[in-house]
C-alpha cells in the first residue's frame, strides 16, 4: 500500500516493465531441481540409468542391423572421441570456445551496460526496447552471410553474431531484475542517505543478481547456438564446420562425437550458471 504512494519520488518501474512477479522471460526454477540431486546413491542411480539407456541403444542398433551412416553406435562414437580427440576435435573445439567467449564477453558487457542505462534513465526504454526485441526474436545465424561479406571469413563475423545473440538476453533479464527491485528497499536506502551509485551497488544489483545470472545462462546458450550455427554456414572453422564436414563424408561416428562435444559444452554452460546461482543468489530460492 505504501508502494502505491511512492510514484512521484521513487520511480516505479513495475508499471512500464511488465514482468511482475514471475522470474522474467525464462524461468528455470522447475529444471533447477535437477541439480539438487543429493547423496552419492542418487547420483550413482542417475549415472547407472544413463549407462542402461546407452547400452540399450547400442543393442537395439545391433539387433536391427542399423548401418553406421543411418545411426552411429554409441561405442563407435565413444571410441572416436577417445582416439581422435587430439587430432580431429581439439582444434575446432578451441576455435568454437574462443569465438564463443569473445562474443559472450562483448555482448554481455554491452547488454549489462544498457540495462544499467535504462534503469537510471527510464525514458530511454521505449527507444531501445524495439531493437532489443528484434534482436532477441531474430535468429542471429541469419546475419552470418551478410556479416561475412563485410568482415570476411575470420572470427569477426561470428563474434559479432554471438554478441548480438547474448547481449539482448543479458540486457532484458538484467533490466527486469533492476526494475523489480522493491520500491520500499530503495526508499530504505534513500532514508539512510544513499547515493544513486550506492543504491545500485548495495540494493539494485544484489536484488537483480539472480535475474542477471539467468540472463547470462540463457544468453550463453543462445550464444553457443549462434556460434555452432554460424560455423555451419561457412568459414571453415570450429565444431559447426566439423558437423557439416563429417556428415558430407558420411563419417557418422565422428559426426556423433562432435555432437557429443557440443552437447557437453551446452550442459557445461548450464551447470556452471546453476552453480553460480546457487553460490551467489541462493536467497532467491
Amino acid at each position: 500500500m505504501a508502494t502505491d504512494n511512492l510514484a512521484d519520488k521513487i520511480p516505479d518501474f513495475n508499471s512500464s516493465g511488465g514482468n511482475q512477479g514471475g522470474n522474467g522471460p525464462v524461468d528455470i526454477s522447475a529444471l533447477a531441481n535437477l541439480r539438487r540431486a543429493k547423496g552419492l546413491k542418487e547420483i550413482a542411480s542417475v549415472i547407472a540409468l544413463a549407462i542402461v539407456v546407452v547400452t540399450l541403444l547400442e543393442f537395439i542398433l545391433i539387433w536391427t542391423h542399423t548401418e553406421a551412416y543411418v545411426f552411429p553406435k554409441p561405442t563407435a562414437i565413444i571410441h572416436s572421441l577417445f582416439t581422435d580427440f587430439s587430432t580431429l576435435y581439439w582444434k575446432p573445439l578451441t576455435q568454437t570456445v574462443q569465438t564463443f567467449f569473445m562474443g559472450l564477453i562483448i555482448g554481455s558487457t554491452i547488454g549489462l551496460s544498457l540495462a544499467v542505462l535504462v534503469t537510471l534513465k527510464p525514458g530511454l526504454d521505449i527507444f531501445i526496447s524495439p531493437y532489443i526485441i528484434i534482436l532477441v526474436t531474430t535468429p542471429m545465424v541469419a546475419l552470418i552471410p551478410f556479416l561475412m561479406l563485410k568482415f570476411g571469413f575470420g572470427m569477426t563475423p561470428r563474434v559479432i553474431a554471438i554478441s548480438l545473440a547474448t547481449g539482448p538476453m543479458v540486457m532484458i533479464n538484467s533490466a527486469t531484475g533492476f526494475r523489480r527491485t522493491n520500491a520500499e528497499l530503495i526508499a530504505l536506502g534513500k532514508s539512510y542517505g544513499a547515493t544513486e551509485f550506492q543504491l545500485f551497488r548495495k540494493i539494485r544489483f544484489p536484488f537483480a543478481l539472480p535475474m542477471i545470472i539467468v540472463g547470462f545462462m540463457v544468453g550463453s546458450i543462445f550464444g553457443l547456438l549462434t556460434a555452432v550455427g554460424a560455423e555451419m554456414v561457412g568459414g571453415g572453422m570450429g565444431l559447426g564446420n566439423r558437423l557439416i564436414y563429417f556428415s558430407s563424408l558420411v563419417q557418422m561416428s565422428q559426426f556423433g562425437a562432435v555432437l557429443v562435444i557440443v552437447a557437453t559444452f551446452g550442459v557445461g554452460i548450464y551447470s556452471f550458471f546453476t552453480f553460480v546461482n546457487r553460490k551467489w543468489a541462493s536467497w532467491d530460492a
Binding site: M1, A2, D8, E184, S191, Y192, G193, K202, P206, W283
Partner: protein, 288 residues
C-alpha cells in the same frame, strides 16, 4: 553509550524514585521542546487517470520524546503523512520542521524509518543488514550499541541468520534494531506490525514500549489498529478519510509502563469505542 540521555536524566532525579515518577518528570522536562512541527501540509498525487488529494491542511506538532500514533480508515493518507515527515516525499504545500529546521530531504542521522515490511535485504545476514546504514554513511559500526539493541530485541545468537530463517516478529525486531542503531532522534514507523499475527503483535508492542522507555526517541507510529494506537501512544491523531485531515487528537494518559491487560480496562474500551466511532463515521454499529 546509548542510554546516555536516560542515565543523565536518572541522575538528575536522584536515586530511589520510581520509574513512573521519572517518566512523569521527564515529560514535564521535555514538554517545551518541539521535535516535529507540521504546518499546513497538503499532499496531492497525480496519477495517470486522476488527482488524489491524500493529505489536506495538516497542522500539528510532536514534542521531544513523545509517542504519537496516527490512526484512520484505510487510504486516509496516514502513510502519506509519514512519508512527508521522512523527507523522502516532499509535501505539495506546507512545511515540516525538524528541530526548527526546514525538512527538504531525508535526514539519515536524525530520522529513522521502519516500514510495514521488515525490509531486511534477503541476501544479507541480520548483522550485515544492521551494518548497511553504517556502510552507506561510511561510518564505523557502533558495536556496543548494536550489541545492546540485539540483546533487548532477543536477537542475540541470530546475527548470522538470513532473514529467510527468521520469524516475522524477529525480522521486524531486526528492522527496528537497524533503525535504532543509527541512534536517530525521531523514529517514523509505518504500520510496522500490520503483517503480524495478534500474539506476535502484542509481543512487539511490549518490545517497542520497552525500547522507547529506555531510549525516549520521538516516535510517530502509523497503524490501522486503534487498540494498538491507544496501547502505545501518548497522543493519538485521528485522521478523516480522503482528503486526510486531522479530525481529532486523543490524549492517552494511562500510566506507564503499561501491560497488555490494559486493553481490557473500561476506560481503554471507552476511548477505543469513541475513536472507532470517529473513524467509521456514520456507518458505526450498523450492518448494511
Amino acid at each position: 553509550m546509548w542510554l546516555t540521555g536516560e542515565e543523565q536524566f536518572k541522575s538528575n532525579l536522584g536515586a530511589g524514585q520510581s520509574w513512573q515518577k521519572q517518566i512523569t518528570k521527564r515529560r514535564a522536562l521535555v514538554a517545551q521542546a518541539t521535535r516535529i512541527q507540521i504546518t499546513d501540509v497538503s499532499k496531492i498525487y497525480q496519477t495517470e487517470t486522476k488527482t488524489v488529494e491524500a493529505v489536506k491542511n495538516f497542522t500539528e506538532s510532536v514534542q521531544d520524546g513523545e509517542f504519537v500514533c496516527v490512526v484512520g480508515a484505510s487510504g486516509c493518507g496516514k502513510t502519506t503523512l509519514l512519508w512527508c515527515l521522512s523527507g523522502l516525499h516532499p509535501a505539495t504545500s506546507g512545511t515540516v520542521h525538524i528541530d526548527g529546521e526546514l525538512l527538504t530531504k531525508p535526514l539519515p542521522d536524525r530520522i529513522g524509518m521502519v516500514f510495514q515490511d521488515s525490509n531486511l535485504l534477503p541476501w544479507r545476514t541480520l548483522m550485515e543488514n544492521i551494518e548497511l546504514p553504517f556502510q552507506i554513511k561510511k561510518k564505523a559500526v557502533n558495536r556496543k550499541l548494536v550489541d545492546e539493541l540485539l540483546d533487548v530485541a532477543g536477537l542475540k545468537g541470530f546475527e548470522n541468520s538470513y532473514p529467510g530463517e527468521l520469524s516475522g516478529g524477529m525480522k521486524q525486531r531486526g528492522s527496528i534494531v537497524r533503525a535504532l542503531a543509527q541512534d536517530p532522534e525521531v523514529l517514523l514507523m509505518d504500520e510496522p506490525f500490520g503483517a503480524l499475527d495478534a500474539f506476535t503483535r502484542e509481543e512487539m508492542n511490549l518490545f517497542l514500549l520497552k525500547v522507547w522507555q529506555q531510549t525516549r526517541k520521538t516516535i510517530v507510529f502509523v497503524t490501522h489498529s486503534i487498540s494498538e494506537a491507544i496501547f502505545l501512544a501518548d497522543r493519538v491523531w485521528v485522521m478523516s478519510p480522503r482528503p486526510g485531515r486531522l479530525s481529532r487528537i486523543v490524549d492517552v494518559d494511562f500510566p506507564r509502563p503499561r501491560n497488555i491487560d490494559l486493553q481490557f480496562e473500561p476506560k481503554f474500551i471507552e476511548i477505543l469505542k469513541s475513536i472507532r466511532d470517529d473513524v467509521e463515521g456514520s456507518k458505526s454499529g450498523k450492518v448494511q
